[in-house]
């Protein structure tokens, strides 16, 4: 069903996006994350300039834009993974539940525990079985889990949409899974430590369309319980899974956020001409 309220600029993506808008009155879950004036440098090279973006609790935000526009750099500033590059520097604030994660005295490992990450390339731990991979976060973060670990394993694998495929071989090594299954295993691994926010850096770029659809289903399910930020090159994917879309562009200079808005508006009537050119496929 195509939405009819859109302007004549409506393209086919807007219709998909319209179906994703959250029901009014549904309580937000997860935690809010807010980037304020975030800059990122590699050495003296300014890669990202002055990005302010509010991720409301329980929403899915897609970051789109051409390669090299700083979206991956940006997402890595949100859980303090940016600082692993030796020459990296940053400016600005990132607030999780109103507290700056870059504040002096912050326990960075706790921050990363609360803001999970799924990477572009599936990276299950090769020495662990499927089951051990799911529970790896508890062990790595030294969390005492009071409940039944088998139940937790099943619950997270169900939420990641992988349970039915692996329930009979939880003791097998993760390397035997297909790429799509491995990526869903990585999502399950992130979920087991119950993060408030989940960052996904092009989680489907190496996957076939079938696996991609399953992960998108998973994202839709998860968005009821946590805040999700997803970087994607696939605009249909952005339209299908996200509530809000932010468009990034590096126009010969540092990456900047050009525009952000509800996803259906971004695809139907973007305010900036560059956004419109990009979402309508005229460049990028």
């Amino acid at each position: 069903m195509m939405s009819t309220e859109n302007s004549p600029q409506t393209n086919s993506l807007a219709g998909v996006a319209a179906a994703r808008v959250r029901e009014p009155g549904s309580a937000p879950l997860g935690s809010g994350l807010e980037a304020r004036g975030v800059h990122a440098w590699f050495g003296s090279h300014l890669a990202l300039e002055n990005v302010s973006l509010d991720f409301a609790a329980g929403t899915v935000t897609a970051l789109i834009g051409p390669s090299g526009c700083g979206k991956s750099t940006f997402i890595r500033t949100l859980n303090r993974m940016h600082e692993f590059i030796p020459s990296a520097a940053m400016a600005g604030e990132v607030l999780l539940d109103g507290k700056d994660i870059y504040a002096s005295g912050t326990d960075v490992t706790r921050i990363r525990l609360q803001i999970g990450m799924v990477f572009q390339k599936p990276n299950p731990f090769p020495s662990m079985t499927i089951g051990e991979n799911v529970l790896a976060g508890l062990k790595l973060a030294q969390i005492k889990y009071d409940g039944n670990k088998d139940d937790l394993m099943e619950e997270t694998l169900v939420r990641a949409g992988l349970w039915n495929e692996v329930k009979d071989r939880l003791g097998a090594h993760a390397g035997g899974l297909s790429g799509g299954q491995q990526q869903r295993l990585c999502i399950a691994r992130s979920l087991a430590v119950n993060p408030k926010v989940l960052l996904m850096d092009e989680p489907c770029s190496a996957l076939d369309p079938g696996s991609t659809l399953r992960i998108e289903d998973t994202i839709s399910q998860l968005s009821k319980t946590m805040t999700i930020v997803i970087v994607t090159h696939n605009m249909q994917q952005a339209a299908r899974v996200s509530d809000y879309t932010a468009f990034f562009l590096a126009d010969g200079g540092p990456g900047q956020m050009i525009e952000v808005g509800p996803t259906n508006e971004m695809f139907s009537r973007p305010k900036d001409e560059r956004t419109e050119n990009y979402v309508s496929g005229r460049f990028g």
């Binding site: 300039e49 002055n50 600082e83 002096s104 326990d107 030294q142």
Partner: protein
């Protein structure tokens, strides 16, 4: 894209909030200072004494206080993390202390016998008991350089080809050859010398010379270079080989133009490790080098000298002057090897040129 102007345009200064601020470093250094004070006090009031007690107690106090700081600020997990870091630092310190001590001793004791003539004169004008301003090691420098160049020339092609056989061809004999290479790396150096002595010198009319000694050193160098070359060739991604083959290249062309150049820096490391293995070897030289106290420019005939051999002779001489000469010989050997490594790195690292 001109990054300089962009950076200048941005009014916001880059920060590194993950680095400890000065205010955060004060308690860290304070704890180190406190550890040092405690260290001195505890050593003074207890029967413990000596450098080892100071070092051990300082480590325990420093690591403990840093742990306590982390525990207070961030909790138990951070405290354990801090302890693991302290243990790693202590391990590195323990490993490096003898190395630094050795270097310092060599420089201090070796400098005594150094004078400009030491690098110009040979030992035909002096003996080990002569005053330290007579005679020198030029013949040993020439000999050691000859030995390194010849042993490398013999072992490098053999080693790289063996490594290529093991990583690229992966023939049926790979397992056996791998086993042999590993077994060879355990050969005591004196055995290599005795082997060449009995195989070449006892049974033929050949006499000890540079090339004969280089053969013995090559036996020691081959397993080191082969193992390292094999490891670095295995690090070349399989994708690169496939990309070459998919362009219609033969295996030879793929290996020669893609795999080996990609592993270039690692192969240089392999050679450096091999040279480091042999440069100071003395035992194989005793049977194979012959003897010379003058420069011998002909590597294929006549006795030769070498720095390790010079050191060994100086120590064997046993007099104070002889031992001083030996220390100077060690210092020259260290400087020579260091120079070779630096030169290898400078010329070995490919600069990308855009024409």
């Amino acid at each position: 894209m001109t990054t300089a102007t962009i950076t200048a345009k941005s009014p916001v200064a880059p920060r590194k909030p993950w680095k400890a601020t000065k205010a955060e470093l004060i308690p860290v250094f304070g704890a180190l200072a406190l550890a040092a004070i405690l260290d001195v006090v505890v050593v003074a009031v207890t029967p413990m004494k000596g450098k080892l007690a100071y070092a051990l107690l300082f480590f325990i106090f420093a690591a403990g206080l840093q742990m306590a700081l982390k525990w207070r600020n961030l909790g138990r997990r951070a405290a354990i993390d801090s302890l693991a870091g302290s243990v790693a630092i202590a391990g590195a310190a323990i490993a490096f202390t003898p190395v630094l001590s050795l270097l310092a001793t060599t420089v201090i004791k070796g400098a005594k016998g150094l004078y400009p003539g030491f690098f110009i004169h040979d030992m035909s004008v002096a003996n080990y008991q002569s005053p330290l301003n007579q005679g020198g090691v030029v013949q040993a420098i020439v000999g050691t350089l000859y030995l390194i160049v010849l042993a490398t020339a013999i072992s490098l092609p053999l080693s790289v080809l063996t490594a290529l056989y093991l990583t690229e061809i992966r023939g049926k004999a790979s397992g056996f050859i791998q086993f042999l290479v590993q077994a060879m790396s355990g050969i005591p150096s004196v055995v290599a010398g005795i082997f060449i002595y009995s195989a070449l010198l006892l049974t033929t009319s050949l006499r000890g010379s540079t090339i004969i000694a280089a053969l013995a050193l090559a036996i020691l160098m081959i397993p080191t270079v082969t193992r390292t070359a094999q490891e670095v060739l295995l690090l070349v991604p399989e994708d690169l080989r496939e990309a070459g083959l998919a362009l219609g290249a033969t295996q030879w062309k793929t290996v020669a133009t893609i795999v080996v150049p990609a592993a270039r820096n690692g192969l240089i490391t392999a050679v450096i490790l091999g040279v480091a293995r042999i440069a100071g070897e003395t035992a194989p030289l005793l049977f194979t080098l012959g003897v010379s106290n003058k420069i011998n420019w002909n590597p294929f005939s006549g006795g030769q000298s070498a720095l390790p051999y010079y050191v060994w002779s100086g120590l064997g001489d046993g007099t104070e002057l002889g031992i001083d000469r030996a220390w100077s010989g060690i210092l020259v050997l260290l400087m020579l090897v260091l120079t070779l490594f630096v030169v290898a790195r400078i010329f070995g690292t490919r600069k990308v040129k855009i024409k």
